[in-house]
Symmetry: C2
Subunit: 551 residues, 2 copies
């Protein structure tokens, strides 16, 4: 995927051919009208070729020096190439791209072929005093690839797309994977050998291995497969001071974990060039289960007890009542949720079990592995579910979800075009703190929406669970206030982050910190930030790497 | 356990009442005579009260200042107290203690009661320019508690025994545990609530939670429960620059892991005062299995395939042929291995299956959890074992091992008294590298023993296994060369460490680095060491903390 292939992604989540139109989903449109008090008519984003891009600040000497490292065909200082590499996929990014108000542009995009190209480019950048932003899939939703510090220095973006090897060690069941390898390409190679990495983040189609490692990503099957930091056994990072290749070992007691200092470093220490991750055989058997729980608290208790009795479902997704209604109305799939769990059945459930229709929560689960184990796990989960008076919905809601699992972010595009602010944020905490944290975050978001005198909605799900706790993932929508949309959004976002920090949550469970989640000091205190700054000063003494991110 | 309680441990592994005498194990004594060509008559260690301890270098002003922080009864500058806190349990330590040739002594032992005592003691130490060594159970086998840098500064040892709280969060199934809490005390509290931490290192009886965290320890059931770094959800560390309390969360994407920078820091960044670890319900059912495998390679393949098909035994211990013979002869227990798997049966196995008696390997496994899961796992393991022509030995060898699981280190005491050098070392690597690494390490140890013109033996086991790889644990014995014993040992140890470093192993899987495994640069390269030094310089700018360890 070279620069030109990314053009269709401009000011939108993914490929234009996959766009979702609310007009095609009348049930959802009605639901949104009810929640938000009417939507605007959609307007189109500003076309890429109409964006005002200032000239590159690189001199022709600079460009020649870079071309000397990688070859002239690997240096792109064109306007479209630069614009596309100047935004991620955060709400802030998308508003700027959509409106054509983007103010920061990278000065050139370079495509290294090898790790030593990266090392040489860092040396060239240091020599010419250029900032460097590593770029994988560009799907950061926290401003992770934004070309900042642009007033002081010109900025180079390193597009790592060509560092895309996947080399399998069959005996160890590990794969050495290049930072620029995309999700589908990785799974294609592995699946061909009967293996899988099992990492399926929402951004799977467009994000890269290096991006996952740099941001501590989590896939939708993390409860079985772990987060990316649990999968990686070693990484390689090119820093301005040289290369670090961590020892390839399944575990170590040789001091603090250097590996876990690099994982999550978001490009501020150097460019992660590759890593070795454990892989495993494709599951023999996958079975989806779905349940209606009578309420959000019951659902959370159900998940906690399931994890604490040792069950490890692959997909876990418990939606709160609002998200449950959204999901019921989202599917355009004729075999989907809306058909399978239609109104008639829902009515029946409400009447027979006495469920409050405004409190019903949908829980999707999948179990995978050897057939006998999957059967036993499903039985155990069903037994536990019945103790919560859950209504079993069979396997089709899960299968419907799976078919549409990567389409959810596309909804944002049409919503934004219709004057709706929509963003997500996420955190994690211990089970004993889930309820207070959840209350505080909802209150912060709702207050923020109200303060903007807008109509809006908050919905949430739990989608990554552990013996000790869970992540909470929020989506908020509100009619936006015209040109103030970003101020309005920032107020909500700031209030939500403060609520998370003040109530024992982590600032992010799997999106990272980037530009938008700072200051990091909320997380582990100022001394920990000082320690991380010392680490950065050692590896990147002139602070070339991804300025103004993370720290 | 205050100073006086530790006296019986002087120059020996554990409590004197639990000492093991080879005279009581004639089969083992015969085996050792065969392997080592005769043992000396045992000689006693130098008594503690005959050890020459130089006067403390602390002035009475220093001692008064320390007493001002914690109270005079919590400052111990007596000779026995100082001597006991000047050694760990490494072979080097034990030789020095045994012979009374110890040359480095801490200048006072302080017993803080609270985290704020620790913080105040660090401030006092900084003011008086004293070095500080944190002391948990004192069972380091890598020189981790040695009071070094003694020529420049006086040394304080902080005995953390009174930071021993265990507070359970039942909903989250976590426990907040003080650094000084000992294994048995932790399990007593947890077991009383139907819970377990599941961390049972060889040193369990004498080691502390803080020590486990500081050294990235692993328990004998790590394959089910994880290493300590997998268990901890947060830690608190008092550094000379202040406190870091990492955010209590089951997972996070808020930058590099601060938690995993502190775990494994071996006292060089500060004093770990407490941590929060996940716990879980005591297993409903535990079942031991044991097998004879026809050879070491088969055994390793058996374990690899077991892990890669998703089985997670709790105890895993595969002994090589020499260790298998040792274990068969070690047990004094009438219901033990030697009776259960007696000569007659062994003969039968050899004859019927055509196993080479010199290559037979013993594999102990246990499975735990819900009865139905344990049954299914045992069945699956048995099916796999039969593909390796393994001979099933029932549950009694495992139960016998469990009864004696903490007695093995006691053998060293009588061996040393009889002129035998005995030490252990361990590493980990990917499955694809187990064989070459194993060959290289054995070759290095054997060559080292031969170079000393001594008779000796090397034996090994695999006891911590992962999908991607395994740890290798070596025990080597040789008749020692009188007063050169430590030189002879150092040559072997250095050669083994170099073989590990040069052949892709990690310098330690669970013992840590301490004083004896340096330089750490072998592990992740010099730039990673520089980064760790920068971290230390930030948290401990005058380098008070545990000098000459780890870095």
């Amino acid at each position: 995927m070279r620069a030109n292939d990314r053009i269709s992604d401009w000011a939108a989540w993914g490929r234009s051919g996959h766009a979702v139109r609310l007009d095609d989903r009348p049930a959802l449109l009605a639901f949104l009208n009810e929640q938000l008090g009417g939507l605007d008519m959609p307007i189109p984003p500003m076309p890429l070729n109409e964006i005002a891009v200032p000239p590159t600040r690189l001199t022709s000497d600079d460009l020649d020096a870079l071309a000397g490292v990688v070859g002239p065909d690997r240096v792109d200082a064109t306007n479209p190439g630069r614009a596309i590499h100047s935004v991620g996929k955060s709400y802030r990014d998308m508003v700027s791209a959509f409106r054509g108000t983007l103010s920061r542009f990278t000065d050139a995009v370079i495509y290294p072929r090898h790790e030593h190209d990266v090392a040489n480019l860092l040396a060239a950048a240091a020599a010419a005093d250029l900032a460097v932003v590593p770029f994988g899939g560009g799907t950061s939703v926290v401003g992770g690839v934004e070309p900042r510090q642009g007033a002081h220095r010109a900025v180079l973006t390193l597009d790592l797309v060509d560092l895309d090897h996947v080399r399998i060690d069959h005996l160890a069941q590990t794969a050495d994977i290049g930072a620029g390898a995309f999700g589908p390409a990785i799974e294609d190679v592995l699946n061909g050998e009967g293996l899988t990495l099992g990492h399926f983040p929402q951004s799977f189609e467009f994000s890269t291995f290096g991006g996952w490692v740099a941001t501590r990503g989590a896939g939708q099957q993390s409860t079985t497969y772990g987060k990316i930091e649990d999968m990686v056994q070693a990484v390689r990072i090119a820093t301005p001071q040289g290369l670090i290749a961590t020892r390839l070992t399944p575990a170590s007691a040789a001091g603090p974990s250097v590996l876990q200092q690099i994982v999550g470093s978001e490009g501020v220490l150097g460019v992660i060039t590759s890593g070795t991750a454990r892989v495993r055989p494709l599951p023999e058997c996958v079975r989806f289960k779905a349940y209606f729980l009578p309420g959000w608290r019951d659902g959370i208790d159900f998940l906690r007890q399931m994890l604490q009795c040792g069950l490890r479902p692959s997909v876990v997704r418990l939606s709160d009542p609002v998200e449950t209604r959204w999901l019921m109305k989202t599917s355009s799939d004729k075999a989907g949720l809306i058909r399978q769990v239609g109104k008639a059945y829902l009515k029946h459930v409400i009447q027979r079990r006495g469920f409050d229709p405004d409190r019903i929560c949908l829980c999707l689960l999948s179990f995978e592995g050897a057939p006998a184990h999957v059967r036993a796990d499903c039985r155990q989960a069903a037994g536990l579910a019945s103790r919560f008076r859950a209504v079993a919905l069979g396997s089709s809601p899960g299968q419907s979800w799976k078919r549409e699992r990567f389409s959810l972010p596309y909804f944002r595009d049409d919503l934004m075009a219709r004057g709706v602010m929509v963003d997500t944020l996420e955190t994690a905490t211990l089970w004993s703190n889930v309820e207070p944290l959840d209350r505080a975050v909802r209150h912060a978001i709702t207050s923020g929406i109200d303060a903007g005198q807008a109509r809006g909605a908050v919905m949430a799900h739990v989608s990554h669970v552990y013996r000790a706790g869970a992540s909470l993932y929020y989506t908020f929508l509100a009619r936006h206030n015209g040109n103030d949309a970003l101020d309005q959004w920032q107020r909500i976002k700031t209030a939500a982050n403060r609520a998370i920090a003040d109530n024992g949550g982590t600032l992010s469970h799997h999106h990272g910190i980037g530009y938008e989640h700072q200051p990091l000091a909320a997380e582990n205190g100022p001394l920990a930030v000082q320690a991380l700054k010392a680490l950065k000063a050692t590896l990147d003494p002139t602070a070339l790497m991804n300025p103004e991110k993370l720290l």
